[in-house]
């Protein structure tokens, strides 16, 4: 099933609300942007909700700070040393591994959508792609990067 660029755009815009775009009378790209206006509205809505609750709380809650209350909690004793100290490097290793597999997924999602049209050739390419990554995972495994000491 061949898909040219304009078909993709209209597929993006025609779901839900293409009305705003029709009214403005501009191209399908506007409808595509309308979709994303909803996304940003929802992201903002999540933040606004908390801000409203915190503002409401600010009006009613008591404030009686004391030095003891404002000290950092460390099981009731005076805190020892700085808390912003370096942490174990193994967290970094997992972050790197995560990055590799996350980017892999970004490459694989388009393939899953065009699975049938790409057919055998696409499948073989993906087998090679996943194979390389699997070797990488195996390497990390053998090197002990996946072990948590």
């Amino acid at each position: 099933m061949p898909r040219d660029a304009s078909a993709c755009y209209s597929a993006a815009g025609s779901r839900g609300s293409a009305r705003l775009a029709d009214l403005v009378g501009v191209s399908v790209t506007t409808a595509y942007l309308t979709n994303w206006l909803y996304v940003f509205a929802f992201l903002a809505a999540g933040a606004v909700l908390v801000v409203l609750i915190l503002a409401m709380e600010f009006l009613v809650n008591p404030r009686h700070p004391t030095p003891g209350k404002l000290s950092t909690y460390e099981c009731g004793i005076v805190p020892v040393g700085d808390s912003w100290h370096p942490f174990a490097v193994r967290y970094y290793l997992f972050a790197l591994l995560f990055l590799i597999f996350d980017v892999e997924a970004v490459f694989l999602f388009p393939w899953t959508l065009e699975l049938r049209s790409l057919g055998t050739a696409g499948f073989i390419e993906v087998v090679i792609f996943i194979g390389v990554l699997a070797v990488g995972l195996l390497y990390a495994w053998r090197k002990g990067a996946l072990d948590w000491h």
Binding site: R15, V39, E57, Y91, F94, F101, L113, I130
Partner: protein
């Protein structure tokens, strides 16, 4: 006129999302406490209102009146930013969820990727909160939490790839319509569901995967320095997350709103009965989450990481290749995949337990005994 309709639609969607966050959090807290109490043969909260159902309403008002202070050493701006960010995920995910036939906030054509992207806000919020607290427990709790959520996000995405391949679309409405006729993906691809469900429990920091908040080691994890409503936001997100993640799971694997009596009651083009089915399925899953939390003991950090990287991710990669091969070449691929997937799932579950037991026995044999050899 149409512009106003668009804006009105957006407003209604936001209000529904807010309602879901609040109501589901309040309901889930009581639901979990009462269910745990029932399973442990005790009463649980039963004094506030009939059968204690108003307990969490009372608790939330109590929390509103608590002192909300930040310790002197914290980074004040980031300390407040974290609870603000933590709710973004819970609200924003609901933009793409088809609650019922004829109602979706906005049917994005990249719904599945959107879900993955937006739920990551929680990881960021936890990291920011833990770092800003300037407290050792908070920092370690936040790092553990981030490492865990990041590790389990990979198998989750690998499972989602199979769903995307089966529907040839990333839109959640298309995922629901691909499961029409009760060909729910949980029956068609149980192995994929198994991977996704375990990863989603870990993403929620719940059940056997609640290490970031293991009280015996880390006080309250990333929330140690939080008090009052800023702590309440983390708490609210955690419990609302149970319902929201279950809604995503229902949409992806349990046919969404599908059920008998679709068109019996239609108001303004939105069917009501499917919504009831949707919520019933969602709460069956929420009950499963509570049940799992009660039944399975907490994992160790090394077990947790090994489970994600050494079992779920290799399994997920193999699952993608096998599933897509079946979709590509098998006639009647749903039947072939169902047969294959069930066999694989039963084999894994059947093998996992004996393997684990053997490894545990070996480990116990190696460990120095405290009682052996002493007088």
């Amino acid at each position: 006129m149409d512009v106003f309709l668009d804006i009105l639609r957006g407003l209604v969607a936001v209000i529904i999302a807010y309602a879901f966050v609040f109501i589901s959090a309040l309901v889930n807290i009581v639901f979990e406490r009462r269910t745990l109490a029932f399973m442990q043969d005790r009463l649980g909260p039963n004094r506030t209102g009939p059968q204690g159902i108003l307990q969490s309403v009372a608790d939330s008002f109590k929390m509103l009146g608590k002192e909300d202070f930040a310790p002197a050493a914290v980074d004040k701006r980031l300390f407040t930013l974290a609870p603000i960010m933590v709710m973004i995920g819970a609200v924003a995910v609901q933009l793409v969820i088809p609650y019922t036939k004829g109602w979706t906030g906005q049917d994005l054509n990249i719904g599945i990727i959107y879900i993955v992207a937006v739920t990551s806000f929680t990881v960021l919020a936890i990291l920011i909160g833990g770092w800003a607290s300037h407290n050792k427990y908070s920092l370690v709790g936040a790092l553990r939490s981030a490492a865990q959520m990041v590790s389990y996000e990979v198998p989750m995405i690998l499972a989602l790839l199979v769903v995307a391949a089966a529907t040839s679309s990333l839109s959640l409405n298309d995922v629901v319509s691909a499961q029409a006729g009760y060909q729910w993906f949980v029956f068609v691809m149980p192995t994929t569901f198994f991977i996704f469900f375990i990863a989603s429990i870990a993403e929620l920091n719940r059940g056997p995967f609640d290490l970031p908040e293991s009280e015996s080691e880390l006080v309250a994890g990333y929330g140690t320095e939080y008090s009052g409503m800023r702590f309440g936001m983390f708490f609210l997100n955690e419990y609302a997350g149970m319902t929201i993640m279950s809604m995503v799971t229902v949409t992806l694997f349990f046919g969404g709103w599908e059920g008998p009596g679709e068109d019996l009651l239609v108001l303004w083009g939105v069917s009501v009965i499917p919504f009831v089915w949707f919520m019933i399925k969602t709460y069956v899953l929420v009950f499963a989450l509570v049940w799992i939390r009660l039944s399975v003991p907490r994992l160790q950090v090394n077990e947790l990481m090994a489970f994600a990287w050494k079992l779920l991710i290799p399994l997920g990669l193999a699952n993608i290749l096998a599933s897509t091969a079946i979709i590509l070449w098998a006639p009647q691929w749903k039947w072939v995949m169902a047969g294959f997937s069930w066999v694989v799932l039963i084999a894994i579950v059947g093998l996992f337990d004996p393997l684990l037991r053997r490894r545990l026995r070996r480990k116990h044999a190696q460990a120095p005994s405290l009682t052996r050899g002493t007088a």
